[in-house]
C-alpha cells in the first residue's frame, strides 16, 4: 500500500479500536480499567511507523495504537484487554500490562516511567552487540516527575544509548494540570541537563511527529545517542473511562478537537487529490471489519479457568 494510505489506515484503525473499547466499556463488556488514547493517534502512529521488527518500543497504558502499528495482532490485543486465555498475558494482567517481545513490544507496569531504565537496558544490549536497532521509550509528562526518568536519561546520556525518549504531554496527570506538575513549560528542556537534544513537536500533526522521531531514530541508529522528543497532545477521554474529567473545561476539549490528528491528515489527503468521501468510507469499512473480527475472536475465546494463575512465574522448574 502507498505510504500515505497506509498511514491513514493506521490512524483510522487505532481510532476505531479505541472507540470500540470505549463503547464496550460502557456496555459492561470489558473487565477492568480502560485508558483511552483517543486524540493521540498521530503520536503513536507517527512514532512507531517504519520501525523494524527488531527495534523495541516501551508503550504506555494509553498507547494501544503503538502495539497495533508495531505489528501486534489486533485479535490478541483485544483478547488481552478482555482478560482471555488467548490474550498476550493469558488473562494474568489487565489492559496493556502485557507485551510481545517477539514484536519488540515491552510490557509496562502501572508504575509509570519505571519502563525508562529498562529501555536503557535494551538499548545497552544493542550498543554492546553493535546491532543497529533503536528503542522508543514513551512516558507521560505526568510520569516525568518521577526519579526513574532522571536516572534513565542521565545514564542514556553518559552511555550514548540508542534510545529515543518520547514524552506524551497531554497536559494532565490524571486530574493534575501541568502547572502543578512542573515549573517549566517544556519537558524537552530537561534534555540539556543530560547532554543530548530535546525537541518539542505538535503531537497531533502526523508529519511533525514522523519528522522529529524519524530524525532521532536515525541519529540513534548511527551511534549518535539519545534524543528527547516532547509531543504536545490531548486525550479526549478522562484518565480512564471511569473518570469524567470534570477538572477541565468543555471549551478546552473543543479547542483540541479542532486540532484532531485525523481531520488534519484527511485535509492533507484531500489536498493531494484523493476523493476523501470515498476513501474515508472505504477505510472505515476496512478498519471496522478488522476490529469486528478482533472482538469476535476475543469474545469467543475461553476465559482462564483459574489454576493458570500459578503458571508463568518461573522459567525453570521450582
Amino acid at each position: 500500500m502507498e505510504r500515505d494510505l497506509e498511514l491513514y489506515h493506521n490512524l483510522r484503525l487505532v481510532r476505531e479500536f479505541e472507540g470500540r473499547l470505549s463503547k464496550m466499556h460502557h456496555q459492561g463488556r470489558i473487565p477492568g480499567g480502560v485508558y483511552s488514547g483517543l486524540g493521540q493517534e498521530a503520536l503513536v502512529v507517527g512514532s512507531v511507523y517504519g520501525l523494524a521488527r527488531e527495534d523495541f518500543i516501551f508503550p504506555l497504558h494509553r498507547d494501544l495504537g503503538a502495539f497495533l502499528v508495531k505489528g501486534v495482532d489486533p485479535r490478541l490485543l483485544m483478547a488481552q484487554i478482555l482478560g482471555k486465555k488467548t490474550g498476550l498475558s493469558g488473562g494474568r494482567d489487565s489492559f496493556l500490562h502485557a507485551g510481545s517481545l517477539a514484536d519488540g513490544v515491552f510490557g509496562a507496569t502501572s508504575m509509570l516511567a519505571s519502563s525508562l531504565p529498562v529501555a536503557c537496558g535494551v538499548a545497552l544490549k544493542f550498543k554492546m552487540n553493535g546491532e543497529p536497532n533503536v528503542v522508543l521509550a514513551f512516558f507521560g509528562e505526568g510520569a516525568s516527575s518521577r526519579g526513574d526518568v532522571h536516572e534513565a536519561m542521565n545514564f542514556a546520556g553518559v552511555q550514548r544509548l540508542p534510545v529515543v525518549f518520547i514524552c506524551e504531554n497531554n497536559f494532565y496527570a490524571f486530574s493534575t494540570p501541568q502547572p502543578m506538575e512542573m515549573a517549566v513549560e517544556d519537558v524537552a528542556d530537561r534534555a540539556a541537563g543530560y547532554g543530548f537534544k530535546g525537541h518539542v513537536c505538535n503531537g497531533n500533526d502526523l508529519f511533525a511527529v514522523m519528522h522529529e522521531v524519524g530524525a532521532a531514530v536515525e541519529l540513534a541508529r548511527r551511534g549518535g545517542g539519545p534524543t528527547l522528543i516532547e509531543c504536545k497532545t490531548y486525550r479526549y477521554s478522562g484518565h480512564s473511562e471511569h473518570d469524567t474529567a470534570t477538572y477541565r473545561t468543555k471549551d478546552e476539549l473543543l479547542e483540541w478537537e479542532s486540532r484532531d490528528p485525523i481531520y488534519m491528515y484527511e485535509f492533507y489527503l484531500q489536498k493531494k487529490g484523493h476523493d476523501m468521501a470515498a476513501l474515508s468510507a472505504e477505510t472505515g469499512e476496512r478498519v471496522k471489519a478488522t476490529v469486528d473480527e478482533a472482538v469476535k475472536f476475543a469474545e469467543d475465546s475461553p476465559d482462564p479457568e483459574g489454576p493458570e494463575a500459578m503458571d508463568g512465574l518461573y522459567a525453570t522448574q521450582v
Partner: protein, 325 residues
Amino acid sequence: METTYIKAINDALRIAMREDENVFLLGEDIGALGGAFKATEGLLDEFGSARVLDTPISESLIVGAAVGAAAVGLRPVAEMQFADFVSCGFDQVVNMAATLRYRHGGNAKCPMVVRCPSGSGVRGGLFHSQNPEAWFTRVPGLKVVAPATAFDAKGLLLSAIQDDDPVIYFEHKFLYRRVKEDVPEASYVVPIGKAALRMEGSDISFITYGSALYHCLDAAAELAKEGVTSEVLDLRTLLPLDRGAILATARKTGKVLIVHEDRLTGGIGGEVAAIIAEHAFEYLDAPVMRLGMRDTHNAFAGAMEEYILPSREKVLAAGRKLAGY
C-alpha cells in the same frame, strides 16, 4: 450514624485537620478530584490547597517530604494513590522514615502517616490489587495498621495521625463502600497495638485482619450451625502485634487458623504461627493452620483471582478441618 468505611476515613481526616493545624495532606489528585477513591473529597474546599497539597507523580518525594515535614513539627498524612505504588517510595519509608529517630539518638520524632489503599477482589490486576503490608512488618521503627471496620478505619487513622512515629495505614479498597456501620460522629481513637475479639467461642480460633475478617465471621457463623463455636480475633495492628491477644485465644481453643488476603509465604501469618508455636505449644490440639493468597501475582481474570484468593468457602473448609482434630 451509618457510615461507610471510606467516609469514616474522610471524617477522620477532617476531624484531625480541624483539631490540629499541623495536620496536612499530600498526594496525587487528592485536591480538586478528592482522590482516586474520593477519600479526601471536600477537604480542599474546607482547608485550602496549602493543607491539601496535590503533588506531581512522585511517590518518593511524597514520602520523603512527609518525613522532613514531620521531623520539624508538622503531621503529614501522605496518600499513595494505590498501595501498590508505595514500592516507588520504598526507600523513603524503610530507610529514611523508619530509622530517623534511631539514628538521631532517640532525639527525633517522625509523626507521619502513609495511607495505602490496598487489596484485591476489585479486578485491579497485578498493580492495583496488592497487599504489601508484609514488606513493612519487619521494619522496626514503623507501625503498621490495617482496619477492617468503619469504626476502626476512623479510630485507627486518628490514632495514627496523633502518633509520634511513622504509621503505614492500609485501607482496603474492597471494603470502602461495602462496609457500612454505626460510627460516632465525634473524635475518638482506637489504640495502635490492640487486637479486637470479634466473636467469642471455645472450639477454634480464627486470627485475621482486613477484608479476610468477613470471610472468617461468615465461616464462624456457618460452623456454629454445625455445633462448633469460634473465636475471631481481628489483629487490626500488624506491627507491633498484640501478642497477648494472640496467645490468649490460642491457649483458650488450642486450634488456630490464621487467614489473610496477603500472600501466604512471608505473610504476617507466619509470624503469628511462630509466636503461638513458641509460647503456646503445650496448649495446642492441632497444627497451627494458615490460609492466604496463593503464592503468585495478583492475577486479573475473574476465575484466576477467585482461584488465588481466600474466600468464605475456603475459610469454612479449613475451619472444618481444624475443628476435626
